[in-house]
Amino acid sequence: MSTSPALHLDDIARAFGGVQALSGVSLSVPAGCIYGLIGPNGAGKTTLFNVVTGFVAADRGRCLLHGLPITGLSVHEVTARGLARTFQNIRLFGEMTALENVMVGLHRQGRAGVLASVLRTAAARREQAGFVERAMALLDRVGAGAQASRRAGTLAYGLQRRVEIARALATGPRVLALDEPAAGMNASETDGLRELIASLRNDGLTVLLIEHDMRLVMGLCDRVAVLDRGRLIAEGPPAAVRTDPAVIEAYLGHAPVGEGH
């Protein structure tokens, strides 16, 4: 198991109407690294995310998570196999507290059914207490513990991001996919995020990161893949990718490297 990559994509293709959003993308994400996925707007990054996490079906190609196929599985099954994600535009359950949001992430790890919940059996109570404790620990882990009982919709932007990450971590992932986590963050929030992501890797998690903030990507990622118009045009360590002529060419058509978007 440890020899297979955390995530292996093989010839993934997907078209929307006449637009080929992804045309045969293959890449391997080694376990335990932070893997950046960059590219100009409309390059197909989010589509790739959606295909990998099961939100969008691929027209072609397959996808292995730690050597096991996850192509064609529905979203919750992909999550159950250890791939969790966050969303470009944060999607918390606004009316629930931060703690409850994270407890939803723990859903799969519980077993209490209707009867057990209604009867409040000892097992159900134990499970509930365990959920609260673990959710609390996860909120502490991402630095949002103080806001546990606040309604998620009322939290500041940066905190919402952290709660969303805690919620994704609650599903017990081996690979965590973050879709533009720094978007809309100010410099200090971004710095905090950088530390958080780095610490997740130190815990042994593989992180897949879509990001426009080049400083964050280049400073944080162990490897970077560059998509342009649905194709993989470069892949490798940040330093190599940064000087790759194809990448410079792709970005010159849109925006210069290092400027974000």
Binding site: F55, V104, H107, S117, Q128, V132, A146, S149, R167
Partner: protein, 360 residues
């Protein structure tokens, strides 16, 4: 530490006492007709709590909820009346009504729940009407439902050989039939309340609310949204089925007329008006909306006194007010008249709640 708790206990005991004495008080002060209203409040509270699971928790708009009520009522009516000459006991029929209604809910929900909410609304709306059409017409060529005439002489519930349809002498106290039904319905409504509120604060309930808030995100959390939506649908339907069976026994008579769109809308009103997803609000909604038509009766004499004659039949106002209530509440108080407070978890309190909103 002990005092507030004792106070709470005293309050609880007083509340319980008030609930137990309510039919006698109402009977003495307002008359027997209002005891009947009280019975119906409890029955509708049960229905509304069932729909609340579907609409309030899981966020699925079901406009044909009365269909499940009808299923339960007709099951009971057919199996405990001279229509087929069947007289099955109620302790068998109640669970059967719950199961049958849940089964029908799954049958209806399985193909439609993967669609967007609006489609579910339309399909359930149509389904409610279809059930009524079938009840109306399944009297020929084989007489299953006795058509528009409905089924009469339904046997009242009997507990330990004591029929609920006749007054009971208890320690020199005469307990009329309506009072007996009150206690029966009180028990079931309390059960529905406990089941609902315990589910709300459970792994299942949180998953439902997550689906209501953001289905896509719920799936990304590993929640099997399809199964959980079906579960909500089936469970809500089973509440409706039980309430239907109780209703059939209570009325002694069922006909398709009692299961129209009006009823579905009324139950929805109770949920929305009271406070979607908040059990106490829903019960309040049921009480308000059952009592409303009774209160509207007084507008007849009022119109005569003020305007000389009755211009608008009080019964005609009922639906209009329901509709208006839906629109106004949706616009101005989307959380209902009695919204659910943001619940604070005991354990969360160990961190100072509402601390400074840092990292900004």
């Amino acid at each position: 530490m002990r005092d507030p708790r004792r106070l709470r206990l005293v309050g609880l005991a007083l509340g319980l006492l008030a609930l137990l004495l309510a039919p006698f008080l109402v009977d003495a002060l307002l008359g027997r007709a209002w005891v009947r209203v009280l019975d119906l409040v409890l029955l509708y509270a049960m229905l509304a709590l069932g729909l609340n699971i579907v609409v309030g928790y899981a966020g699925l708009l079901d406009l044909g909820f009365v269909a499940f009520f009808a299923v339960g009522a007709y099951l009971y009516a057919l199996c405990a009346s001279p229509h087929f000459g069947l007289h099955l006991p109620f302790w068998l029929l109640l669970p059967a009504a719950a199961l049958l209604a849940a089964g029908v809910g799954v049958l209806l929900g399985a193909p439609t729940l993967r669609l967007r909410g609006d489609y579910l609304a339309i399909v359930t709306l149509g389904f409610g009407e279809i059930i009524r059409i079938f009840l109306n017409n399944l009297n020929a060529p084989v007489n299953l439902t006795n058509g528009p005439q409905g089924i009469t002489m339904i046997r009242p519930i009997e507990i330990a050989g004591v029929s609920m349809a006749r007054p009971v002498e208890l320690a020199g106290l005469t307990v009329p039939s309506l009072h007996l039904y009150y206690y029966l319905f009180l028990g079931f409504a309390a059960l529905a309340l406990v089941v609902s509120s315990r589910l709300e604060d459970s792994r299942i309930g949180r998953a439902w609310i997550a689906i209501r808030e953001d289905e896509v995100a719920a799936r990304a959390c590993g929640v099997n949204t399809r199964d959980l939506k079906l579960l909500a649908f089936a469970l809500g339907a089973s509440f409706g089925g039980v309430a239907g069976a109780l209703y059939a026994s209570f009325q002694g008579f069922v006909s398709p007329e009692s299961f129209g769109l009006t009823e579905s809308v009324m139950i929805l009103c109770m949920v929305v008006l009271g406070g979607m997803g908040h059990v106490r609000g829903v019960v309040l909604g049921a009480a308000l909306l059952v009592a409303l038509p009774e209160a509207l009766r007084y507008t007849g004499p009022l119109q005569r006194a003020l305007l000389g004659s009755v211009y608008i039949e009080p019964s005609d106002l009922r639906l209009l007010l329901f509709g208006l209530a839906l629109v106004l509440v949706a616009r101005w108080r989307p959380a209902g008249l009695w919204p659910s407070p943001v619940r604070r978890r005991e354990l969360a309190e160990r961190h100072a709640p509402g601390g400074p909103e840092s990292a900004q």
